[in-house]
Symmetry: C2
Subunit: 330 residues, 2 copies
DNA sequence: TTGAAAGCGGTACCAG
DNA sequence: CTGGTACCGCTTTCAA
């Protein structure tokens, strides 16, 4: 079904048919009714690609995330979607699995279609991808980007501070053997967390530390904990790069016959909803994912306010104390 | 950047430029090189909407799910995405939150763009949506649809059997007071699970039963369990409509001072990865989400094999025993 | 092997 | 208020 057929059936020109659909009020009421009737009878549905091509507008937003399975990314995506849908925008999403080459491909595909804006909620970086973004003239948001790139609005998390507070908190409880469990330490934002951990820890001369890493998954957390245990380090506190992996860590500790928090304290990062449902409920660092989703939307769609600022948006995480941390019994 | 500019720069016609990009071998090598050069210099990127419009082809698949936050849906989506990406297809996804009116809107939006196929992985139903699908001439897959609609390939789960086995198992352990916790009992596939529970249970005259429902979420599971407890029913076994809600149930039981499985046994449904990481590890019913994702893909993209059969695909779930179920101590 | 031109399905401007 | 028409960016005959 095309507009042409609708127009013929309604006995009007294709121009009028178009107007009847898009600018009511400009068309005589009877005429309009006839068109609408024809639309109904023919089950006509406008081709959005053609509309976009001809009209030069789009209401689609692109989002690329590193790991959709991690509730952290999912929550941001979901919040963004909620906001977008409510404002009449569509969301096109793609997942990279932390692989830079997939990021490049995803950006390529995204930019290949008319988009009102693009958000990169990814930890990996890729020069090619950044280069493509540079000569693109639509709003871009970069989340979690360590080195401010010459493009788009960035949203930054103050990892160091959160990491520092967590270490200090554990120290104050009496912990002196701490470990950090992360993933993809080759990626900037993740190495940064690890570095923040190392830096803070080195400020306490009487603290021993170790790190381990695996995939960003439940199994990855478990595996990293396994490594740690096998290494013989025997920490009294384990800090995880995110809550998702912490779930695996808790499981492995249990498996190894170690109780949390009596034998080993565990902390997460992100404060995903699940963290509160775990046993024991997880001490973690809150990252306001819903707000981030909204911030991203407003950065992509400036609204009536005017031109968007390119100033970075900074988020200050805060520690959330629950049951997975306690003074060491050893 | 348009193809026209590229053509001008390369000193060839726009037709040749197009060929150089899409049908190498038809164009003289030198010519082709010049075009490629121009593409590079101008940072040209083809407009996929225009390509689709002119070429009449698409490689985008649409997917609509009920609740992206539930790992069950997410896993299917993810598997489908993996398969699609690997085969050069794109995925366009939308979330309905179980709301029929959103389903209609989502289908409307989906059908508004050229799509190679559409998968509905939703529990809700909407006549309007089905009607739209009827006069659409591309592959459609309906997952979890109870009443076979006059359209598309359906993928069905044998709930009854799984439910029955679970009840029988709990009965054999000695449970006589069982409860079912679901969500959206107004929706067919979910009512079906509840009905299956009721039907099986009624086969055991000495079993008392009750049901409760809330949202499909962690909090929903918790709340439903709360209701159940408040009602005074005091079950020794609780069967959940899915693992996601079971997480909330476990939490609430703990909160109420009841141990699992000593005081109350709990079962889930779906066998999401998380279920194995919970404490206690959840007894559940396995639904092969990865396979379902692949099945959906192949139903949407028939491959070289020929025309797709419209025969329903049936999945037989199986019980997975873990630590959240045991003989009742009371 | 290459170019000219006819669309694909719409939108929007310009007259009438 | 309505019709004619020039595109939007690209693919694809049809001839040359």
């Amino acid at each position: 079904m095309t507009l042409k057929e609708v127009a013929e059936r309604a006995g009007v020109s294709i121009a009028t048919a178009s107007r009847a659909l898009n600018k009511p009020g400009v068309v005589q009421d009877v005429t309009r009714r006839r068109v609408l009737q024809a639309v109904k009878e023919l089950h006509y549905r406008p081709n959005r690609f053609a509309q976009s091509l001809a009209g030069g507008r789009t209401n689609a937003l692109g989002v690329i995330v590193s790991n959709i399975e991690n509730p952290f990314f999912l929550d941001i995506l979901h919040a963004l979607e909620e906001e977008a849908t409510r404002k009449g925008f569509e969301l096109i999403y793609e997942n990279t699995d932390y692989r830079p080459e997939r990021l490049a491909g995803a950006v390529e595909r995204m930019l290949g279609r008319p988009l009102a804006g693009l958000a990169l909620i990814v930890s990996e970086r890729d020069d090619e991808a950044v280069a493509m973004l540079e000569d693109w003239n639509q709003p871009v948001v970069l989340f979690d980007s360590v080195h401010t790139p010459p493009v788009g609005v960035t949203i930054e998390l103050r990892y160091e501070k959160a990491m520092q507070r967590t270490v200090e908190y554990l120290y104050s409880l009496g912990h002196r053997r701490m470990a950090f469990i992360g993933h993809h330490s080759a990626l900037d934002p993740l190495r940064e967390r690890e570095n923040a951990f190392m830096a803070t820890v080195s400020g306490f001369p009487d603290v021993e530390s170790a790190t381990a890493a695996s995939n960003d998954s439940l199994a990855g957390g478990r595996q990293a904990m396994q490594q740690l245990l096998a290494s013989g380090f025997d920490p009294t506190a384990v800090m995880c790069a995110n809550d998702f992996m912490a779930v695996g860590v808790l499981r492995e500790l249990r498996e190894a016959g170690l109780r949390t928090p009596e034998d080993v304290s565990v902390t997460g990062f992100d404060n995903i909803e699940l963290s509160e449902y775990l046993y024991p409920a997880l001490t973690t660092v809150n990252i306001p994912r819903q707000r981030i989703g909204q911030l991203i939307f407003h950065a992509l769609v400036p609204g009536e306010s005017g031109q968007p600022s390119r100033r970075p948006i900074v988020i200050e995480p805060e520690l959330v104390l629950r049951d997975s941390t306690a003074p060491p019994r050893r």
